[in-house]
Assembly symmetry: C2
């Protein structure tokens, strides 16, 4: 297996700032044009597995400082191979808005080329992150008991939280014998509607599948059943296990269900469980003070994560992690090798001790630019628009024969089924298979058309269509158009 | 504690593509000018803890679509608050090159605003990552037994590797009882010269501090003592523990020491230990075929990480993870909730099952643009330049009275002490304190001057100055200037 050695025989120098200037202007125009042309593109181009790979050579070609061949590749391969999550007719998963103001901040960060491995390596990188994450803390209405940082995703935040919970429950086993030395296995509690990253984080943190307890949920609103949580905790304790953490979700992935946080923190407090609040989706809505009742009780949780890179629109990867006990966080996550020590230690924040990676980008600039250019008022107005649109769509659906909204519309997501044999067939178990096939078929028909995109989800054994509203550019007219597509699709299916 | 509610009363709309175009052009010029002016700036501006924070308001100001106030903030606060790791006189830590060709790719990624949570959400994002990481695999001379992905940092790669090792050693305890159900505690082996992230990863993965075994190292070249590794493994097995993983470092942080990988994989094979190769720094040099002897034996390791975002120059965060047994990786790391299932499953790569976060950016574009614009030949030439510069500096130091190179110069890092009382005092133990204070003083004098920056490190109990060469723009003249500064600094100290 002789390795391929590619010895570039052409250009032998790196890109200079002047060459970057020329290419950069061209790229900015390409991005602006791309965003302007978005609505004329299919939301989800027709693309087969392997098609992009097949369009690429098995090794890099001859280098060229001309950016045009790369932009041609973007146009001919990358864009036609991309699902347009910035498209106003995109209703899949959750919004993943990459607001252009935040994109500017991202570009500034790239241009600076900063390195965050210590305060010393990036004083501004560190302190701007402290300030802008504190802005966000205030914007979502949290008290100053909370400190904040940026992680890449809520999955990582959850892993950090469950490691902290594990260490609190095990009396800091990391500092000596580790988990294998424990008599009582620590246990994590969540529901079937918690995000898949909760179970994943628990397994990565070493809890083991037997110690991830799935608590019952309400069959109508899909929220955690606190009586069952309490019973499960008691049963585990009686069984010689160590209840360690509850993950409460504010805005589940399936239906944006809201676990009853105030009750959960009360139950958790009785046995000293860590409460991690996964508000990845719903955190953004807390910039609207009249929605903060959704996470009432949050001040008594131990950690919170929410993703401005979803609905709020600060480009990925911008996941916020709020924590109360930073001393414990740093104790568990810290490293302090000699080469990173400096005279500033002890007086500054060392974000390397707040998460998994040592090195970090200057991600705070994305938030700074986003809030400074778009501003909070515009963000609040946009979120209210999306809430209104979701309510409007739900009303249309409820008023239409044979259609059914199958979960409370708490935020901007509408879960819906259409009954091909009429709405009164809804209860018949023998029709479930027919219903599932019908749902998947009409959703697939819309997606295949490229006119709109939505993702089905399994809700307590039944496939449902899920309309997730909240792309920056999605206005009422787009939602109305989607509703028309839905009605057409079910009659064609 | 009433939360501050900021209700922006000014602008109420988000940035449009045309506004982005205008601001983006201005920002590109700012970046080009910033990079051009780099050499006229102090490498490390004088900055006190809290100074950046003090320059920022406690909440966002009135929004404005004009980017000038933000650029003014960059000029007046961010830049003077930043350590210039792209500066040609920066010799601290390891190089953290943000090559402008890769910055362009990063900008393209931001502009696209793609979302990688499944192949379906980003076919091009997924497949371009497969292709360009495979280019990198070939460039560093690895066989096609290896599959590849991008993680944020080598710290994360190490955590993934140690979780995999834990699961292999524990017979997949994640799938049932978890670590607390184990009779034999799994053990990790590394040396005092391994990166701090190895120990951190082991603690986060639940091994416990008692089960992180520090193997002896050679006192002259700081490489792992394989006889001691073998003895430690035998002792742990006899003691009822389960040897699980060895982390072999190719290019340690302190001195770029190289652990004897061929011998390590042979010892590890006897007891089925996972071998993770931390080549975060040295991986880049493997694009020079005549340096691949440094990791001879690598084909028999289980996982490898290296950071193009260091010496190679693809902007942070671009850490490559190569793995042989992808089936096992996916088994341990996978999640497959209903809302992420699609018809393409089974025929495509789902990178969410290769690491910790669910969502990923289109980081592959950074590599694509970097290799396509700068090209491999230029990268190879630059690395050879840096190797030459390090050898040249070491020769100057060795030829100078009272100066000493204290570790083999394997790559581009030169570890050095100056003996204030003459080189023949080197062995006197009672002089260690004087020597340490002298070293820290003259390094600090250089750093304070803003003329150059280097980071001291503790090497087996002694502080040494560490000159890490390899910034993109560092030419021989810069290294010669540093040598002049060093000679001046010791006479002033």
């Amino acid at each position: 297996m002789p390795p391929v050695v590619i010895a570039g025989s052409g250009r032998l120098s790196r890109m200079t700032p002047e060459e970057f200037r020329t290419a950069g202007h061209r790229l900015i125009d390409w991005i602006a044009d791309y965003r302007l042309s978005m609505e004329q593109r299919p939301v989800r181009p027709s693309i087969d597995p392997g098609q992009v790979k097949a369009a690429m050579a098995s090794e890099p070609g001859e280098p060229s400082v001309d950016v045009e061949p790369l932009l041609a590749f973007m146009d001919s391969v990358v864009v036609p191979g991309s699902t347009m999550v910035q498209h106003p007719m995109h209703y899949g998963w959750f919004p993943s808005n990459a607001g252009l103001a935040s994109v500017l901040g991202d570009i500034a960060s790239s241009g600076l080329g900063s390195l965050g491995i210590s305060w010393e390596s990036g004083p501004a990188l560190t302190e701007v992150e402290e300030v802008v994450t504190d802005w966000l803390r205030k914007l979502v209405g949290l008290s100053d008991r909370w400190s904040s940082t940026i992680h890449d995703t809520a999955s990582t935040s959850c892993l950090v939280a469950l490691i902290l919970a594990r260490e609190r429950a095990s009396g800091n086993s990391y500092a000596d014998r580790g988990l294998a030395g424990l008599d009582e296995a620590p246990v994590v509690y969540c529901t079937d509607h918690s995000h898949s990253s909760v179970r994943k984080a628990a397994l990565l943190a070493g809890y083991g599948s037997d110690n991830v307890r799935i608590v019952a949920h309400d069959r109508r609103d899909f929220s955690m059943d606190v009586a069952d949580l309490r019973a499960a905790i008691e049963a585990d304790a009686a069984d010689g296990r160590r209840p360690a953490a509850v993950v409460a979700t504010i805005g589940t992935t399936g239906t944006t269900a809201v676990d009853p946080l105030a009750e959960i923190v009360a139950v958790a407090a009785e046995d000293g469980l860590w409460v991690h609040v996964d508000a990845a989706m719903a955190g953004s809505v807390m910039i609207l003070p009249d929605h903060r009742h959704l996470w009432a009780g949050v001040e008594d949780a131990d950690s919170i994560t929410w993703n401005p890179h979803k609905w709020l629109g600060t480009i990925l990867d911008t996941s916020i992690f709020h924590i109360r006990n930073t001393e414990f966080l740093i104790q568990v996550m810290s490293t302090n090798p000699s080469y990173l020590q400096s005279g500033a230690d002890g007086t500054v924040t060392q974000y390397r001790d707040w998460g998994i990676p040592l090195g970090r980008r200057f991600r705070a600039l994305k938030i700074l630019f986003h809030l400074s250019i778009d501003g909070v008022g515009a963000l609040q107005a946009r979120l209210r628009r999306d809430l209104d649109n979701a309510r409007w769509l739900a009303e249309q659906i409820e008023a239409a024969p044979d259609w059914q909204v199958v979960a409370p519309v708490v935020l901007q997501t509408v879960c819906v089924v259409h009954h091909p044999r009429g709405a009164d067939s809804a209860g018949a178990d023998d029709d479930l298979d027919v219903l599932n096939r019908h749902t998947l078929a009409w959703v697939e028909a819309i997606n295949r058309s490229g006119e709109a995109y939505l993702t089905p989800t399994m809700l307590d054994g039944r496939w449902v269509a899920r309309v997730s509203i909240g792309v920056e550019t999605t206005e009422r007219e787009h939602v109305a158009r989607l509703w028309g597509l839905m009605k057409n699709a079910v009659s064609a299916s």
